[in-house]
Symmetry: C2
Subunit: 711 residues, 2 copies
C-alpha cells in the first residue's frame, strides 16, 4: 500500500509534464463521442428523456435576460438562487451547444461569463457570510463558489471553440484566474483540508487547470498547495475513504463528495490516462460508488446518518453521475443499470450514452443488495457500518448498525445506532438533520439551532443513552478521537448477525450491541433480535429509544398518556426537545408494543434483568420557532447498579388491506421472551412461537467460532 | 314524480307475480354470458388479472380445511375474520366454478354451507354484541351478517346447479330460511329503516328471495315488511339520495351503501327487467355512482367527510362494482374506463367483461371531474356539497364546501366545512373518523371514544367555531332537524364561486361562507379566496381553524411556541384534545402563514375587521390510550361584539426540488390583503400581486346577478 502510494506520487510528477495541447470539450463529453451522442439522444429512451430535460432547461435559460446580480442573499435567497440558475444554465447550454451545434447556446454562455468577468474582481467576500474563512464571493459559503466553478468550467469547456480568443482571454483573465487564485489563496485552508469542502475546491481548481491548460493548478489539485502529497486529491482518496469505500462523514456526505471526486477523476482519465485514476487504491472509486449504493434502502432512500436531509434518494444527480461513470469507466456490472432505470435519467455525456444504450438493450438485472460490514477509517480498522438484509428487492428487510467514526463536524453522537427498514419503508428511523435545505425563512436554509441541540444528540437516535447524557458529553473533539470496534459480523443466511462495541462514549461503561436477523420456519419474515449490553460497576440510568414510524395499536401493559399537561423529559442533551407523553412502569421483566406501519404490524417484544419503564415520547418541546418535525418513540428505561442487558425481538406480522377491509395476523406469534444464562460472556434468549415451539438464541461474546447459535 | 312512484308501486305488485322459474346463476354472472366470460379472462388484461386474483384466493381457500367456528370475537378477532374469509371464499369459489367447471370449487362451497346449516340455528345472538337490537348471530353486529349473506347467496347461486337437491334443501331449510326469518324478524327494525344498514339487510333478503325463488321476500325487500312502500328499496332510493344522487350520510357511507344498492339492482334487472330499476327516478342509480366519483380527488381519495376512514379510495370494491355496473348497464361513458384502469381490476362478471373489453380496445378517456353543486335532501333543497375544481387531472386544485344535512348518526358537526386539495394531495384536510377499522386492540375495531369527543366536534374541521362550542351544542337531534342553505353557486371558468349559509347551528348567529377560485393572469394557479362571516348582535368568540398538511416554514408575525409545558386549549367540544403550541396576538389586521407540503409552498394571507390572534395547535391532549393521530392547525381567532368577517386568500407558489436541491418561488406574490366596503350586504377584498398590480374582489351577497366580481 505504501509502496503503491509512492509510485503514484512519482507518476504524478512525471505525467504532469504531459498536460498540454488540450482538446475541447474534454470532461464529461469528449469531442470524438459527439457524433455518437447526437445519434444516441434520438435513439435510447433514457438518454432522450434526459436530453429533453436539459434542452428544455437550456431553452428556458436563454429565454431570460442574462442576469448577474451583485451577491447579497444567503441560501435560498434571490441572488443565491440566481447564481445557481446561472451555473446550471451554463452547463446545460454547453451540452445543448455540443449536441445541436446551434451557436445561440454558446453565445448565451459567453455573455454570462463576460458579465461575470466584468464584475467578479470587484466583489469582496460575500456580505451574508458567517465567517471570513468560509466565505465565498458569489455565495455566502465558499463551498457554493466551488460548486459554481465545477459546473461553470464544464460549460466553458463545452463552448470553448465557439468563443473567440479575445473573449476567452477576457473570461480567463478576469474570472477564472481570479477564481483559481481565490480558491488556492484565500481558501487555501479549505483547499488543503481533508474534507468534502476540500474535494469540491480541488476539483474546481483541477478541472479549471485542465481546461485552461494550467498544469500547475492540476498538480496542486492532485497533491496540495505545497505539492507534497499531504493534501490534494490522492491524499483525500487515501484518508477520507476506508478500504471498503466507506466515506468518513457518512452516506449523505459521501453522495455529495462523490460528485467532485468523480468528475475530476473523469477529467484526469481523459487528460492523463496513464495516472490510472480509476485503478487507484484497488479501484477505490468503484468501491466508493458501490458502498454508496449499498448505503441505500430498496426505495432509494440514502441511510439518513449524521447530518442528512431525509428526502435524498439514489435519484440525486450525484448518484446519477456515480452510476453512469461506474458503469462506463470502471465496472460495467449490469445490476447498475437497474439503479439507472430507477433514476430515470442519465448524464448527457459519453458515460450516459453507454448506460442508456445498455438499458435499451435490456441488459439490466436487479441491483445486488448485500449484507456486509463496511469498514471505516483509512486503514479499515476504525469501526464501520454493518448492514444485514433479507428478502427480494420488492420486500426487503434491512438493518443497519452504525459503529463508525464520528464523521467530523457533521457527525452525530449516535454510537451503535440502529436503523430498520421493511416493506419498502422506514420502521425504526433516524431524524437526520434539523434543516430545511435552501428554505431561507428557516435559518437561511442552513442547519437550524436544533440540529445541535436535538438532531445530533444521542437520544435522537435508536441507541442507548447513559444517565441522560449524550455520548462524549456531546464533545466533538473527544468523539473524533476514538471509534467503536467491530466485534463480530456474519451474514450466514438464516442467522445473520453483527456486533460492535463502544468503550469510550461513557466513562466506566462499555457498550455492546448484537443485532441479528433470525429466520425460523414458522414465520415468513426473519425476526430482528437486538441485545444491548452495558457493562459497568456504577449505578446508571439507561434509556433505549426506538423512534418508530406508524401508529401505536397495542401494548402488553397498561399505560395512560398524560392528559392535561405535557412536560419535556429533561433539560439538556436533547431531552429538552421531547415531550413525555406517557410513562409506564412495568411489573414484570417482559412486555411488548405493537404498531402499524404502511398496513403491516410490528411488535417489539422486550425484556431485561429487571422490569423496565416504557416512556412514550414525541419531539417538539423547547422549539419556539417550531423547527422540529414530529417523531415518536417508545423508550425502554431502567436504572441499574451493575451490568444491564436490554433485549428486544421485533416481529413483522400481518396485514391490513384497506381495499378489502380485512385484517389478518394482527396478533404476534412470539411470546415468553426471557433472558437466561446471563453473564458477561454469554447470554441466552428464550422465546416461544405460537405458544408451542421454544427457541433459544445463545450469544457467546468471546467465542468467534460460535458467536451465536439458535436451537 | 309522485305519479311515477305510484306507477312503480303498481308495477312492483304486478311483476312480483312474474318472479318464478329461476335460472342459476342470475346475479352478477348470468348463465348465457359464461362462454364469453371464459374467453374474456384469457384475452382482456384487466379481466385476466382480476380473475387470476380470485382464482388464487379460491385456491388458497380450498387448500384450508373447512372451518366454521362458533361465533365469539368482535371486529378483527379470530372468529370474526374466519367468517369473513368464509364468505369471500364462497363467492370466489362460486366464480371459479363457473369459469372452470371444476366441481371441487362447488364442493367446497357446499361443504361450508352444510356446516353452517348444521350449526346456524343453534347460534344465539352474538356474545360480543353491544346491544340486542343490532346484534348479529355470526358477527357481533347484524350489519356484518347482512354482508355475509349478500356475498354468500351470490356464491350459492353460482354453484346452485352443482349441488344435489337434497343438500340444497338442507342448506335452504336450515341456513337461508332461518337467515331470512332473522333478518325480517329480529332485525325488522333495521330492515325497515331508511339507512345503509337497512340497505344491506334488504339486499340480502331480496337477493336470497330471487335465488330461492321466494317472491314474497323480494316483495318485502322492495316495499318493506308491510308491503306499503314506506320502507324497502324504492323508499330508500327516494329518501336516502338527493335528485343529484348525493347520499345523506356522505361519500364514505355512500360508497358502502352503493354496493348493496347496485347488486340488488342488477338482480332486479336480471329477474324483473320490466321494473326498469336503472331508469328509476331519472336514472338515480347512475347519478349516485357519478356523484360518488365526483366526491373523490384525482388521487382517488374519497372526501373524508363525516365518519370516514381516510385510506379509502376509488379503488375500493364498492366502486369497482359501481363503475362496472354503471358502464355496462346504465351509461357507457368512456371516461368511466379511466377510473376502471386506475382501479386496476374489474368484477369477474358480465359487467366486468364489458369494461375490460372496452379498456382493451383503448376506449378510455380521462375521467371528467367537474365543478358542481350536489344538492342534498330527498327534494334537493336541504343544502348540499359544493365542489370547485381547476386544472388537469394531473395537477388539479379542488375545493369542497360542506353545506349538507347532518347525515344521521355518522354525521359530523361541521357546517360550512372546507376541504382543499392541490398537487395530488390534501392541503386543508379533515380528520375523518377516529377509528382503526378492524384492529381489535383499538376499541374492538369500531369507533373509538374520541370519535365523539374529537372527530365529530366542530373544531376538528375547517370551519368557524362560535364561543368554543360545537354546532348545535353537539346535539344530533337538533342538527338533524335543520340544514344549511345554498346561497350561490357559479362555476364560471376563472371566477368560480360557491356560498352557503347556516342559521341554526348557533343561536343568534348567522354564518355565511363564500369560497372562490380566482384566476389572475400573473399567477399560474388560481387563488383560493375564503370569506367567512358571522352576523350577530352579541359578543362572541370566533375560532376558524385550518387543519393543514405539511410543515410550517414562515409567518408574517413573531410567535414563540410554548417551550416547557403544553396545555389543552379547552375542556370540552373537542378543545380538550388539542394542545396549544403557540398563541400570537397580532398588532395589525393582516398577516400570513406559509407552509410547505409535498415540495410546494402555500401561503394563507388573512385579515379581519380587527387584529386576529393566531393559535397553533396539535391534536393529542386528553387521549390516555393514544388513539389520536397527529394533525396540526393554525387557528384564526378573535372576539367580536358585532358582525365578524374572516377573510383568507391561500396562494400556491414555488417548488422545492430535492433532486436538484433548488428552491424557487418561496416568497408569495400576494400582499396587502385588506377588507373594505364592509357591510352585511357587500364586502370588497383588496390585494396586490407582486407589489404592483391591485385587485379588488367584491361580493354582493344579495345580488344573484352580480354576486361576485373581480377588478
Amino acid at each position: 500500500m505504501r509502496h503503491l502510494k509512492i509510485i503514484y506520487f512519482f507518476a504524478c510528477l512525471l505525467f504532469s509534464l504531459a498536460v498540454s495541447g488540450q482538446k475541447h470539450p474534454g470532461i464529461m463529453i469528449t469531442g470524438e463521442q459527439v457524433p455518437a451522442l447526437r445519434a444516441g439522444v434520438n435513439r435510447y429512451p433514457l438518454l432522450k428523456r434526459s436530453y429533453r430535460e436539459i434542452k428544455a432547461a437550456a431553452d428556458a435559460a436563454i429565454a431570460q435576460p442574462v442576469t448577474v446580480p451583485v451577491p447579497k442573499d444567503g441560501g435560498g435567497g434571490v441572488t443565491h438562487e440566481q447564481h445557481k440558475k446561472n451555473y446550471t444554465g451554463i452547463l446545460n447550454c454547453g451540452i445543448v451547444y455540443q449536441l445541436t451545434g446551434n451557436k445561440k447556446y454558446a453565445d448565451y454562455v459567453k455573455e454570462l461569463l463576460l458579465q461575470y468577468a466584468a464584475k467578479y474582481e470587484s466583489w469582496p467576500l460575500h456580505p451574508a457570510r458567517k465567517n471570513n474563512k468560509e466565505s465565498g464571493r458569489i455565495f455566502w459559503q465558499s463551498l457554493n463558489d466551488f460548486v459554481w466553478q465545477v459546473y461553470t468550467i464544464q460549460g466553458y469547456d463545452l463552448v470553448y471553440d465557439a468563443i473567440d480568443p479575445k473573449d476567452r482571454e477576457e473570461i480567463e483573465a478576469h474570472l477564472f484566474l481570479p477564481i483559481l487564485q481565490f480558491f488556492t489563496g484565500h481558501c487555501a485552508y479549505i483547499f488543503n483540508s481533508i474534507h468534502n469542502h476540500g474535494t469540491w475546491c480541488l476539483a474546481a481548481v483541477g478541472l479549471t487547470g485542465y481546461v485552461l491548460n494550467k498544469p500547475e493548478y492540476v498538480q496542486m489539485a492532485l497533491k496540495g498547495s505545497k505539492l507534497d502529497g499531504k493534501s490534494g486529491y490522492w491524499a483525500q482518496l487515501d484518508q477520507l475513504f476506508s478500504p471498503d469505500g466507506y466515506y468518513a462523514e457518512g452516506p449523505y456526505y459521501q453522495r455529495y463528495a462523490l460528485f467532485p471526486f468523480l468528475i475530476f477523476a473523469k477529467a484526469i482519465q481523459n487528460h492523463q490516462p496513464r495516472l490510472h485514476v480509476f485503478e487507484y487504491r484497488n479501484k477505490l472509486l468503484a468501491k466508493a460508488i458501490n458502498s454508496m449504493l449499498q448505503c441505500t434502502y430498496t426505495n432509494g432512500a440514502i441511510f439518513p446518518l449524521n447530518d442528512a436531509i431525509k428526502d435524498k434518494t439514489s435519484e440525486t444527480w450525484e448518484l446519477v453521475y456515480g452510476v453512469d461513470i461506474a458503469y462506463s469507466d470502471i465496472n460495467n456490472s449490469n445490476d447498475l443499470l437497474d439503479v439507472a432505470q430507477q433514476q430515470g435519467r442519465v448524464i448527457v455525456s459519453d458515460a450516459g450514452l453507454k448506460v442508456a444504450k445498455a438499458v435499451y438493450e435490456k441488459k439490466a438485472t436487479p441491483f445486488k443488495y448485500v449484507s456486509e460490514w463496511l469498514s471505516d477509517g483509512a486503514d479499515g480498522k476504525a469501526g464501520g457500518l454493518g448492514i444485514l438484509r433479507d428478502g427480494p428487492n420488492t420486500d426487503q428487510q434491512c438493518v443497519v448498525l452504525k459503529a463508525t467514526t464520528q464523521g467530523m463536524g457533521h457527525g452525530h453522537f449516535d454510537r451503535l445506532n440502529l436503523l430498520y427498514y421493511d416493506n419498502g419503508t422506514e420502521v425504526f428511523s433516524d431524524y437526520g438533520a434539523a434543516r430545511f435545505l435552501n428554505i431561507e425563512s428557516k435559518g437561511g436554509g442552513g442547519y437550524l439551532p436544533e440540529n445541535n441541540s436535538w438532531a445530533k444528540q444521542t437520544v435522537a437516535h435508536n441507541t442507548l443513552v447513559v444517565d441522560r447524557v449524550s455520548d462524549f458529553k456531546g464533545s466533538l473533539e473527544q468523539a473524533q478521537a476514538t471509534h467503536p470496534d467491530l466485534v463480530y459480523f456474519n451474514a450466514k443466511p438464516g442467522l445473520q448477525v453483527m456486533s460492535a462495541e463502544e468503550k469510550n462514549a461513557y466513562e466506566g461503561v462499555v457498550l455492546n450491541r448484537v443485532t441479528a436477523l433470525i429466520t425460523i420456519p414458522e414465520l415468513k419474515k426473519p425476526l430482528l433480535l437486538d441485545v444491548f449490553t452495558a457493562l459497568s460497576n456504577g449505578e446508571h440510568q439507561y434509556d433505549l429509544p426506538f423512534w418508530y414510524n406508524g401508529q401505536l395499536v397495542d401494548a402488553s401493559f397498561q399505560f395512560k398518556a398524560f392528559a392535561g399537561e405535557l412536560k419535556p423529559m429533561g433539560d439538556k442533551f436533547g431531552y429538552q426537545h421531547i415531550w413525555l407523553n406517557a410513562a409506564a412502569a412495568l411489573n414484570k421483566e417482559a412486555g411488548s408494543i405493537t404498531f402499524l406501519n404502511k398496513n403491516r404490524f410490528y411488535t417489539t417484544h422486550f425484556t431485561s434483568e429487571n422490569p423496565l419503564t416504557v416512556n412514550f415520547v414525541t419531539t417538539g418541546a423547547n422549539d419556539p420557532a417550531m423547527n422540529l418535525t414530529t417523531s415518536r418513540a417508545f423508550m425502554l428505561s431502567r436504572k441499574s447498579s451493575g451490568n444491564a442487558t436490554l433485549v428486544s425481538i421485533t416481529e413483522t406480522h400481518g396485514v391490513t388491506d384497506p381495499v378489502y377491509e380485512t385484517v389478518t395476523g394482527a396478533v404476534p406469534a412470539i411470546s415468553g421472551v426471557t433472558l437466561i444464562n446471563n453473564s458477561e460472556g454469554k447470554k441466552t434468549i428464550v422465546f416461544w412461537v405460537n405458544g408451542k415451539k421454544e427457541y433459544r438464541v445463545t450469544i457467546n461474546y468471546n467465542d468467534k467460532n460460535n458467536f451465536i447459535n439458535l436451537k
